[in-house]
Amino acid sequence: MNQSQTSTGPILTTDGIPLKVSLKKAERINKIRAFLLVLPLLAFILITFLVPIGDMLARSVDDRQINTVFPKTFEVYKKWDRQGLPSEEVYKTMFFELKNSEGYAVGKASTRMNYSKSGWKSLLKKSKRKFKKIEEGPFKEKMIATDKKWADPEYWLALGQMVDPTTMGYYLNAVDLKYDSSKNIVQQKENRRIYNKTWIKTFKVSLLVTLFCLLLGYPISYLLATLPMKYSNLLMICVLLPFWTSLLVRTVAWMVMLQQKGVLNNLLVMSNLIADENRFQLMYNQTAVVIVMTQILLPFMVLPLYSVMKTISPTYMRAALNLGASPMHAFYKIYMPNSVPGVSAGCLLVFIIAIGYYITPELVGGKDGQMVGNWIAYHLKTTLNWGLCASLGAILLAMMTVLYWAYNKIVGIENIKLG
């Protein structure tokens, strides 16, 4: 004690290096070793998770597809006052850029241009073929002679949305807005407003599924956690068995159960509870999506709930009862607060899975059960509008982040427990 107070210089190790330095060195080696251990996982996450998300975010604003094909046209286009038809100069530049550009580039550009105005695709393709025969101007008249769409200002105005190499257009599209020709934000045409409704529906369905999963899952988990082992194991298998069954099989089984001439309706008619012509429409609509998804996602609620409830000591409840609380009161005051971490984990898990669900709504959704995932799949496969897919995906991601943040503020993320 005395010695350490009197010594003024740094403590040295036996080989004369200050202890601090020596310790740091040893620690550094340990750190590197630890880092090397997690490196494979880090690289895996980076490559399979962060890079694709980055790519998705980039695609959602990227609008170079067309700017690289018609750069000069856009230069002269910017000078146009957007009244009537553009000048001969715009037509002429467009003509030569289309005529001389490489075929595949035009193909890709025309796909992009078709998102802004239906019809660009075939117009460019036909025109490229016909332009081969035209050598000199006046180009405006000759282009219009090949196809009268060139005289339709709507096509030219639609180009105005694409003048910049980056765009917010896909995000606008994803919430039923769009750019007009001078890049003002306006509402989408009424009969094409579909995404806002879909967002609301997706949220509604996900919330309902989460709620029903909680209502059904809570008592099951309570039973699982409190029953003697030999019954609870059996019950656990009943929970897990459907979990191990193929998703498609379960979905199709529900179709058999719920359709109008299905098991449930037949039973109701047979027992004279409803008339033959008043069979319930339980399949191919939103109701079906909620019912089927609830059943499919139930294990994701039960498992975290169960593992948390298992840790709640039965002595707490006994103590509460012993001290004179009614069973209801004891449950409400003691058991429920203790199970909150499991409830939060289960609800978040179910909600997150539900909001991006695709296959079940596709199969049983019918007329009004389509969710955002179905539109993403449609644009990914059929229209190749990956920009719109990316923006829909990015909005989903942002929503989940906001939800997570709000949850952290209100409940606290340390309150989540999977076991």
Binding site: G107, W120, N191, Q260, K367, D368, K381, T383, L384, N385
Partner: protein, 353 residues
């Protein structure tokens, strides 16, 4: 000893080269009875050396585009719909092919430079004979007339063919349908017609579903792919009846993916697009060959369709006989490539409202 090893080594290497001179190819199609018919007609009869792996997909260009963009092409030959054939060829996803062998023998000209012909299939309305003991529905007007023929209708969840059928049911001539559809009023008119059955429809998205819906009595009439209806009648003995009116014919082609084993793919496609091969496929599935001369081969060979209890005449089940063609709409993939996204969004809004 060393020499022997060397010789063996080089021998192995050269063998590897000889072995890889004929690459294996992956053939991608829609699965089910359709792929089975292709397997029997094209793959089992192919003897050029490539061994062929068959995979299934659900259509669309998404996966192909991803493979080509990533430079990791694992599919070689893909069975595609015409609008995909157009877009994929325009965007450089497919290999251009020499079409001189068949170009003058096609029922309609090929939609792009990248395709070889396969079949015509058709969106066709049908019903169970037992559902209508008295008056039977005869045309597409009856399909859209819920007063004359009460009961639910099964229709698909996308807009293709529904717009066309609605317009014909509303009195437009089959040959003028795309002219009318190219005007905004035409589309409004189609949706107005669809409104009249809206409260009476059940939607399906998987091809086997409409047959189930009609069999179980869930609906009294449905639209389906004609080959599925035919298969149900011919192989399962169902009591279904076609409504051969305003059937919407769709084309089906093979394409070779750029960056795959192109040479072998093109060789296989040449084999799979001869008039004889196209006719051969009709032995196993009632879709219409796209080559004119295939029909002649089938006519001569009737009964052509093979079942376990002997052969059956196939022409009455084909969507491309003159009698059916007269009242059919030939689907226009160019129109759908242009307007598909817009109409589909509107259709989505219509469905959900």
């Amino acid at each position: 000893m060393r020499k022997a090893i060397k010789a063996a080594f080089f021998g192995l290497i050269s063998m590897a080269f000889v072995g890889s001179a004929i690459a294996d190819i992956t053939f991608v199609s829609w699965g089910g009875a359709y792929t089975a018919s292709q397997q029997k007609a094209y793959i089992d009869t192919y003897s050029k050396g490539s061994s062929i792996t068959v995979e299934n997909y659900n259509g669309g260009l998404g996966e192909i585009k991803a493979q080509v963009e990533a430079g990791n092409v694992t599919w070689d030959v893909v069975d595609v719909l015409p609008d995909q054939a157009i877009t994929g060829c325009d965007e450089g996803l497919f290999v251009k092919v020499d079409q001189s062998e068949f170009i003058n023998d096609m029922v309609v000209p090929p939609v792009s430079d990248c395709v070889v012909p396969q079949i015509f299939w058709a969106y066709t309305a049908f019903y169970d004979k037992a559902a209508f003991p008295g008056k039977k529905p005869k045309n597409i007007k009856d399909f859209f007339d819920v007063k004359k023929f009460p009961g639910k209708r099964g229709i698909h969840t996308w807009a293709n063919a529904l717009i066309e059928m609605a317009l014909v049911a509303d009195g437009v001539k089959a040959s003028k349908v795309y002219e009318v559809m190219s005007t905004p009023e035409g589309i409004d008119r189609a949706f107005a017609k669809l409104d009249t059955i809206k409260d009476h429809v059940v939607f399906w998205s998987a091809g086997s579903k409409p047959l189930e819906l009609v069999s179980s009595g869930e609906v009294v009439m449905a639209l389906a792919y004609n080959g599925r209806i035919g298969a149900a009648i011919l192989s399962e003995g169902k009591n279904f009846e076609y409504i051969w009116d305003a059937t919407v014919l769709e084309q089906e082609y093979l394409v070779a993916i750029k960056g795959g084993n192109e040479k072998e793919a093109l060789e296989f496609m040449a084999h799979a697009s001869t008039a004889e091969s196209n006719a051969e496929q009709a032995k196993y599935i009632p879709y219409g060959p796209m080559r004119k001369s295939s029909i002649g081969i089938i006519k001569k060979g009737e009964p052509w369709f093979i079942t376990s209890s002997g052969n059956i005449d196939i022409l009455p089940h084909m969507p491309t006989t003159p009698k059916v063609l007269k009242r059919a709409v030939i689907g226009d993939p160019v129109w759908w490539a242009d307007n598909g996204a817009e109409v589909h969004e509107r259709f989505g809004a219509w469905k959900g409202s």
